[in-house]
């Protein structure tokens, strides 16, 4: 917790979902909180606040991180992607489309982090096996699905991506 008497708020320059942005906050404020304060960016969720559940997952410079563990000062000069940056306008990302179609989202609270983790995995490994998907999503807890339909959805997303050669997934994630 920042010392509220002596700590000064800082300004951090970064790019969020392709838009250059200035963030303000105490240096050690959680990036999760600072992002969620911004208009229209409440899609990143808090499930545990200690890096265990992955609901707050975002990408920083292409790396998947839990934003509850990242102080805002680390965002300086970075490119950040959140769930709000996954779709192309109203066109869903292949992972979003698959989760919707194959039952990979239920209550939806883990879904943003799950989509970031799955997309990040596919950026590194466009053709993962089921076991590799399970490993890739092991940091994202879901209490509703038992994971079966999430795994199926990601496998389907790969298939669709290959057949449609969707560049949004097969390119590196930023």
């Amino acid at each position: 917790m920042p010392d509220r008497i002596t700590a000064q708020k800082i300004t951090v320059h970064c790019e969020i979902n392709g838009v250059r942005t200035q963030l303000e906050g105490f240096p050690m404020a959680r990036l999760l909180d600072v992002l969620r304060e911004l208009p229209g960016l409440t899609g990143t969720k808090e499930g545990c606040g200690e890096g265990e559940c992955g609901a707050c997952a975002i990408e920083i410079d292409g790396q998947l991180v839990n934003s509850c563990l990242v102080p805002v000062l680390h965002a300086e000069g970075t490119r950040i992607r959140t769930i709000e940056g996954m779709a192309n306008g109203e066109t869903l990302h292949a992972v979003q489309q698959a989760l919707l179609k194959y039952g990979g989202t239920q209550c939806g609270i883990c879904t943003p982090g799950m989509i970031l983790a799955a997309s990040n995995l596919l950026g590194r490994n466009p053709r993962p096996s089921e076991v590799e998907i399970r490993e890739g999503l092991a940091g994202n807890l879901c209490r509703c699905t038992g994971y079966t339909k999430i795994i199926e959805s990601v496998l389907e997303a790969c298939r669709n991506t290959r057949s449609l050669s969707d560049s949004r997934v097969s390119e590196p994630s930023r």
Binding site: G103, Q106, C107, G108, L141, G146, I150
Partner: protein, 745 residues
């Protein structure tokens, strides 16, 4: 008319908003001038409050501070009774009792302030376990620490023991389990003398919260409004506790005149809110030479925690499910829910049944071994069939085929071949494999006369453009209410799903459809939605605005004309209890449920004998649930429930110290990850239920009942050890594999 959509996997109604991150959960809402609230809790399991001390260094004049003295109505969380205070005033009955509420605009300062409040107490001896509660050295509730007890009698068990070829006895236990929805509990309240009280929150049962707030504030019903926001999982955990949190947020909001948001962090959510009731079951069973059940005597006890909450109802379901889907002419079930000085235990998917079903299904595997039969042959000889009576004297009117379900489950899991193969391969291996199963039933809807008492309502309203709006108090929390209601209404009138809108539950606008619990939403409320939709159609037919075989366009024209003439087109359906369902509350006999789901689950495990770790390597779930409305959503319910059952069986261990959960973090309370769950293979048999919408029955809770005993039976099959309790952590299993190897508290 469009194609039927029931039986097809139409996409989740609100799914697009969820995958886009646009769905608005309570913590995503922000109101002008909104400030934040926190709770200061007791720190001993039992005692008397002697003072509240506000420490130095905090600008207390900036804070809104609420104690029990600020409560306008009665200081209680009204539910079945009014024994639980909203804020403790004199007595502390568990270690997480809310005593003081604080609100401030600065979250960081608020946290400092919380730590600066000291509650002075004079401790009293605490009762922390079922055994201590029943010993009665300290009386902490009523005359004898017993919240509720039941007695089910069928035939005459006492006449059987002497003549039985075999009598098998055993004691079984299950631990507490945290619901662990990924969205923690949260609430926003706005309240004033002028405008009454409004709360927005993550909750399952808007009208439970409404009832509690009416009592807490002493206001007329129309001065209280409860709105459900998108809810990130409930599983029973958001059935009762939101009434408490809504009360707290509303008391702060009333006092400070500003909107107040309270969001629990994970630790507070885990330690302070309800969990599954720990249980102890003792079985004594008489069998004849052929393995037929002659008598079942079952003693079932659950730990209710400090206040009554829903424990009598949890106990009821656990009691009724304790004898399973078997025929037996002589049954006695005696049960009780007892008080302890731990936070109240509450609703969790399955609601008492997972506890008593675990005991029964482990016990029958043990009984089979005593008789000299395989576990499947013992079940096969005792499965209930249509026309026979369950323990509570209910004549089964469904054409239940448990043996067929079992055959299919064995075929899908390759049960027989694997059982043989593992027996050959296991000797000498450090990995011991096993396969086991459980067969069980789960009643849908409220027990006995519960649905009659609820008298639920749902409404359907047509708009001028032919769209239909569904007004119901049933909540979507991930299980699929919005989508299932949409499919039911669409098919009732032959419309497309995108013509149907499910309205946000808001007690100012939706009727009371009863709580979203008890596997009742599709079967009971879905039927009301179907009836109301058909009534809308009938109104149009009767007035001559519409003819059968209409198109969507004709329907829209008819709606416009009707509304132009009569002002609105709306129909409300109210639950009518079938006249042939009878329940006797005093003798605890009769038609406990209108319908049951029936199931056989098979688990395959690999036990590493070096580490005593268990992996579930395959899981097959076969069930008959009536007509399946949406195959993907239905399978999703089963898969998710099985995963929670895997957690209940193997990982989820609440560690208690002086009545407090001391592992209230996701790092040390372990739920299954994607690496801990096998592919869960789900199969449905469909036997339409005449009173369900399109033939559907309830399914939500079913998977919790059979998963843990199937896994426990598989572990016993793999290792030969006699599992008597869950969770089966490595520490527990190692002690069974090598007695004395592991020191357990």
């Amino acid at each position: 008319m469009s194609h039927p959509v029931i039986g097809t996997s139409v996409p989740r109604k609100e799914g697009r908003d969820k995958v886009l991150g646009r769905a608005k959960y309570v913590d995503d809402l922000r109101f002008p001038a909104m400030i934040y609230g926190v709770t200061v809790r007791s720190n001993i399991p039992r005692g008397r409050i002697s003072g509240i001390h506000f420490g130095d260094g905090i600008p207390w004049e900036e804070f809104t501070i609420v104690t029990a003295k600020d409560i306008l109505g009665k200081n209680c969380i009204a539910l079945l009774t009014e024994d639980q205070p909203c804020l403790a005033e004199e007595m502390i009955n568990h270690p997480e009792e809310a005593v003081v509420l604080l609100a401030h605009a600065d979250k960081y300062l608020l946290e400092e302030a919380r730590r600066a409040v000291r509650i002075d107490t004079e401790p009293l001896p605490a009762v922390l376990t079922i055994a201590e509660s029943m010993a009665g050295a300290e009386i902490i509730w009523g005359a004898d620490n017993v919240f509720k007890s039941y007695r089910v009698e069928k035939g005459d068990v006492d006449a059987v023991w002497g003549a039985a070829a075999f009598v098998v006895e055993g004691e079984y236990q299950t631990g507490a389990q945290e619901q662990l929805y990924i969205e923690p509990q949260g609430m926003i309240a706005q309240a004033s003398a002028d405008h009454g009280v409004t709360v927005w929150g993550s909750l399952q049962c808007p009208y439970y919260v409404h009832k509690a707030l009416v009592r807490l504030f002493g206001l007329p019903r129309d001065r209280i409004r409860v709105v459900q926001t998108e809810t990130g999982g409930g599983f029973g955990g958001k059935e009762e506790y939101p009434s408490m949190l809504a009360g707290h947020a509303a008391l702060l909001a009333w006092k400070c005149g500003k909107p107040v948001k309270m969001i629990y962090d994970r630790a507070e959510d885990m330690v302070a809110t309800t969990k599954r009731h720990p249980s102890r079951t003792v079985h004594r069973t008489a069998l004849d030479r052929d393995g037929k059940l002659l008598a079942m005597e079952i003693d079932f006890t659950i730990d209710g925690g400090a206040y009554l909450t829903l424990s009598p109802v949890v106990l009821s379901r656990g009691t009724i499910h304790a004898a399973g889907p078997y025929r037996c002419e002589n049954v006695r079930i005696v049960s009780r829910a007892v008080a302890t000085n731990v936070p109240p235990h509450g609703a969790f998917r399955g609601f008492g049944a997972p506890q008593s079903v675990f005991a029964l299904e482990r016990h029958l595997d043990r009984a089979a071994a005593v008789v000299g039969l395989t576990p499947e042959e013992l079940r096969r000889r005792n499965f209930i069939e249509m026309g026979q009576t369950l323990a509570v004297h209910q004549v089964v009117r469904e054409d239940v085929k448990m043996a067929q379900l079992m055959d299919r489950a064995f075929e899908c899991s390759d049960y027989h071949a694997k059982r043989q193969r593992f027996q050959k391969q296991n000797p000498g291996s450090t990995i011991q494999r096993g396969i086991g199963f459980a067969s069980f039933l789960h009643g849908a809807g409220f027990t006995g006369s519960g649905e009659e008492y609820l008298a639920s309502e749902a409404a359907v309203e047509a708009a001028e453009d032919g769209r239909l709006r569904i007004w119901a108090g049933s909540t979507e929390m991930g299980q699929g209410t919005n989508t299932v209601f949409t499919q039911i209404a669409a098919d009732a009138l032959g419309l497309d799903c995108d013509q149907i809108e499910v309205m946000q539950p808001d007690t100012d606008t939706v009727p009371n459809s009863g709580p979203t619990v008890a596997s009742r939403t599709t079967m009971i409320v879905g039927k009301l939605v179907e009836s109301a939709a058909l009534s809308v159609q009938k109104l149009l037919y009767d007035r001559g605005y519409l003819q059968p075989g209409f198109s969507a366009k004709e329907f829209a024209v008819a709606c416009r004309e009707y509304i132009g003439r009569f002002g609105s087109l709306r129909s409300m359906a109210k639950y009518q209890h079938p006249s042939d369902l009878h329940w006797d509350d005093t003798r605890y006999q009769g038609d406990a449920y209108g319908a049951y789901a029936w199931a056989v689950y098979v688990a395959e495990v690999a036990v590493d004998t070096r580490t005593a770790e268990v992996r579930v390597t395959d899981f097959v779930a076969v069930q008959e649930v009536g007509k399946v409305i949406n195959p993907i959503l239905a399978a999703g319910q089963i898969e998710g429930g099985v995963a929670q059952g895997i957690g209940f069986a193997l990982y989820e261990n609440v560690v208690w110290r002086e009545g407090r959960m001391i592992n209230g973090q996701m790092t040390n309370y372990i739920m299954p990850t994607s690496m801990d769950t096998p592919p869960i293979r789900v199969f449905f048999e469909e036997n339409p239920y005449s009173r369900g919408p399109a033939g559907a029955k309830g399914i939500g809770e079913l998977p919790l009942d059979g998963t843990a005993p199937a896994i426990a039976n598989a572990i016993s099959n793999a290792t030969g050890v006699d599992i008597r309790s869950v969770p089966i952590t490595p520490e527990v299993l190692l002690e069974l594999l090598e007695p004395g190897a592991c020191l357990i508290e």
